[in-house]
C-alpha cells in the first residue's frame, strides 16, 4: 500500500492543480508584468491603497476582538452545560453558520436600515427622534462580519474547554477557590490554545472578506477584497489586481505561519 497509496489522491490533485494552484500562480504572475515591481510600488506606496490595507487590518482586528468577546462565553457555556442544552446551543450556532451569507446580509439590512426594525422600534418607543445610521458604514460591516465569523470562534473554544480535565476544576473547588478565581487561574490559561486557534481563523478569514463589506459597507467601507473585485471588473486592471492579491495572500500566509510557530503541533480541533 506504500507506493500505490498515492494513486487514489491523484484525481483530486489534478483538479487542485488545474483549477486552484495553476490559475492562482498564473494570475499572481501578472503582477510582475514587464519584469518590474511598479504595481507593488503602487499598491504599497500610494496613500489611497495603503489606507485600504490599513482599514482591512483594523476591521479584521476588531472583528477578532468582538468574536472573542462574544464567542468565549458561548463556547464555555456549551462545554460546561448538560448534553441537552449543549445540543440546543450547537443548533443555534450551526444554523447561522450554514445559512447563506446573503440571507444573513439581507436580514441585517432589514434590521439596521434607516427604516429598519431597530430604528423603527426605537423611534416608536420615543427613545430617539432621528434614525441612527447603522447601515452602509463601519458599524454595519462590523455587525455583519462578527455575525458571520462568530461560530468559527465558538467551536474551537468549545473544544478547548471540553478537553480540559474536570478533575483540575474539582480540585480547585474542593480547595475553596471562587468561581472567578477558577476561571482566571484554570480555565483561561488552559484554554488559551483554543482561543488562539479561533482568533487566527477569524482574523485570516476577515482579511479576505468580500460579500459583507460590499453589501453592508455601501461603498464607504473599502476592504482589500472589494478593491480587487473593482480592479478586475470595473477597471480591468489585471496586473494591479494581481499585485493586491499577492499582498493579501502574503499577509494571510504570514499570519498563519506565525500562528503555527506559536502553537504546539496539536491541530486546532
Amino acid at each position: 500500500m506504500t507506493k500505490k497509496g498515492f494513486l487514489p489522491a491523484l484525481p483530486a490533485l489534478v483538479l487542485l492543480f488545474a483549477f486552484f494552484l495553476f490559475p492562482v500562480v498564473r494570475m499572481l504572475g501578472f503582477s510582475l508584468e514587464g519584469g518590474s515591481l511598479d504595481w507593488y510600488a503602487k499598491a504599497l506606496g500610494e496613500e489611497l491603497y495603503l489606507r485600504v490595507f490599513w482599514n482591512t487590518f483594523e476591521i479584521a482586528l476588531l472583528v477578532t476582538f468582538f468574536c472573542l468577546l462574544l464567542g468565549y462565553p458561548l463556547g464555555f457555556l456549551m462545554a460546561t452545560t448538560t448534553p441537552l442544552w449543549a445540543t440546543v446551543g450547537f443548533i443555534f450556532v450551526l444554523l447561522p453558520l450554514w445559512t447563506s451569507v446573503l440571507v444573513r446580509t439581507y436580514a441585517w439590512m432589514v434590521l439596521l436600515g434607516r427604516n429598519g426594525v431597530f430604528n423603527r422600534t426605537l423611534i416608536d418607543a420615543g427613545i430617539i427622534s432621528d434614525p441612527i445610521p447603522l447601515l452602509h458604514n463601519f458599524t454595519g460591516v462590523m455587525i455583519g462580519m462578527v455575525h458571520v465569523l462568530l461560530p468559527y470562534m465558538v467551536l474551537p473554544v468549545y473544544g478547548a474547554v471540553r478537553r480540559l480535565d474536570p478533575a483540575i476544576v474539582a480540585a480547585a473547588e474542593g480547595l475553596g477557590a471562587s468561581s472567578w478565581r477558577i476561571f482566571w487561574r484554570i480555565y483561561l490559561p488552559l484554554t488559551l490554545n483554543g482561543i488562539f486557534a479561533g482568533a487566527v481563523i477569524v482574523f485570516v478569514l476577515s482579511l479576505g472578506f468580500f460579500i459583507t463589506p460590499a453589501l453592508l459597507g455601501g461603498g464607504r467601507v473599502i476592504m482589500i477584497a472589494v478593491l480587487i473585485e473593482q480592479q478586475v471588473r470595473e477597471t480591468l486592471n489585471w496586473p494591479f489586481a494581481a499585485a493586491l492579491s499577492a499582498v493579501l495572500l502574503a499577509a494571510t500566509f504570514a499570519v498563519y505561519a506565525l500562528a503555527q510557530r506559536f502553537t504546539r503541533t496539536e491541530p486546532a480541533a
Binding site: F6, T105, I211, S245
Partner: protein, 259 residues
C-alpha cells in the same frame, strides 16, 4: 451567581446569532408592498411572486443541480484522497494535505478572480460545469476534513477479519469499509452540497448570465430590497435546517464536521 450572569449574557449572544434568521419569517409573510416592519397584515404574495418568476425558479434549479454535482464530484475525488492521506505513506503527504485544505485559507476572491482569468480564455464563463469544478475546489476541504476524521476512528480489525475470511480487497471496501463510513460520507456530501448551494463570490465571476440562486439574490439586494428575497431566504433557511437535521440523524458529529 456568576453562572447566572453567564447564562444571561449567552442568551443575548444567541439572540444576536438567531435574530437575522428569525426576522425574515414575518417579513416574507407581509402584505405590505415594500419592506415594512412590523408587517401590517398577512399574505403569501412574496412566495407567489417567487414561484411565478421563471428567473427565480431557473436560478433555484441551477443552484440545486450545481450543488448536487459538486457534492458528487467532491466525494468522488475527496474520499480516495482522504484514504491516501490517512492510510498511505508517501513523499509529500503533508504538502498534499495542506494543498487540499488551502482553499479554506486562501481568500475566495483570489480564487474567483484567478479562475475567472482562465475560464474567460477557455470560454467557460456561464457554463454550469465550470462552476461545478470551481465549487468542488472549495468543497474538497470539507470532504477531506470529515473523511480523515472518520477514517482515523475506523477499526481496521474489521477489514482484516473480512480479508482473513477470504473477501477480496474490493469486496471488503464495498461491503465493510464504506458502509461503516456511511455517517461520515453523509456529512461530507451534505456539507459539500450546502457549501456550493450557498456560494456567491465564485458565482459572481463565473456564472455569467446564467444566474445561480445566490447570484440572483446578490443582484436583487444591490438593486432594491424587495421582500421576495425574504421569501427566498426563508426557503433557504428551511433547506439548511433540513440538511442539518439529516446530518444529525444520519451523519457523523455535527461539531466535528464544522471543525
Amino acid at each position: 451567581m456568576s453562572r447566572r450572569l453567564l447564562v444571561l449574557a449567552c442568551g443575548l449572544i444567541y439572540l444576536f446569532l438567531m435574530l437575522p434568521l428569525l426576522v425574515v419569517f414575518p417579513i416574507s409573510l407581509s402584505s405590505a408592498p415594500y419592506m415594512q416592519f412590523p408587517p401590517p397584515g398577512f399574505s403569501w404574495q412574496w412566495y407567489e411572486r417567487y414561484l411565478d418568476d421563471p428567473q427565480w425558479i431557473d436560478a433555484t434549479w441551477r443552484s440545486l443541480y450545481i450543488g448536487v454535482s459538486t457534492a458528487a464530484l467532491a466525494l468522488a475525488l475527496g474520499v480516495p484522497l482522504a484514504f491516501s492521506l490517512v492510510r498511505a505513506k508517501f513523499f509529500g503527504r503533508v504538502l498534499v494535505e495542506r494543498l487540499a485544505l488551502a482553499p479554506v485559507i486562501v481568500p475566495t476572491i483570489i480564487l474567483s478572480v484567478a479562475v475567472y482569468g482562465i475560464f474567460a480564455k477557455l470560454k467557460l464563463i456561464g457554463a454550469w460545469y465550470g462552476l461545478v469544478l470551481a465549487h468542488t475546489v472549495l468543497a474538497l476541504p470539507f470532504v477531506v476534513l470529515v473523511m480523515v476524521a472518520g477514517l482515523r476512528d475506523f477499526d481496521r480489525a474489521l477489514e482484516q477479519a473480512a480479508e482473513g475470511l477470504g473477501a477480496s480487497r474490493w469486496r471488503t471496501l464495498t461491503r465493510i469499509t464504506l458502509p461503516l463510513l456511511r455517517p461520515s460520507l453523509v456529512s461530507a456530501g451534505l456539507l459539500a452540497f450546502i457549501s456550493s448551494f450557498d456560494e456567491v463570490v465564485v458565482a459572481l465571476f463565473l456564472a455569467g448570465a446564467n444566474m445561480t440562486l445566490p447570484k440572483k439574490m446578490f443582484d436583487n439586494i444591490l438593486m432594491e430590497i424587495d421582500p421576495t428575497i425574504a421569501a427566498v431566504s426563508v426557503i433557504q433557511i428551511l433547506l439548511v435546517s433540513l440538511v442539518l437535521i439529516l446530518i444529525g440523524r444520519f451523519g457523523r458529529g455535527l461539531s466535528g464536521s464544522a471543525r
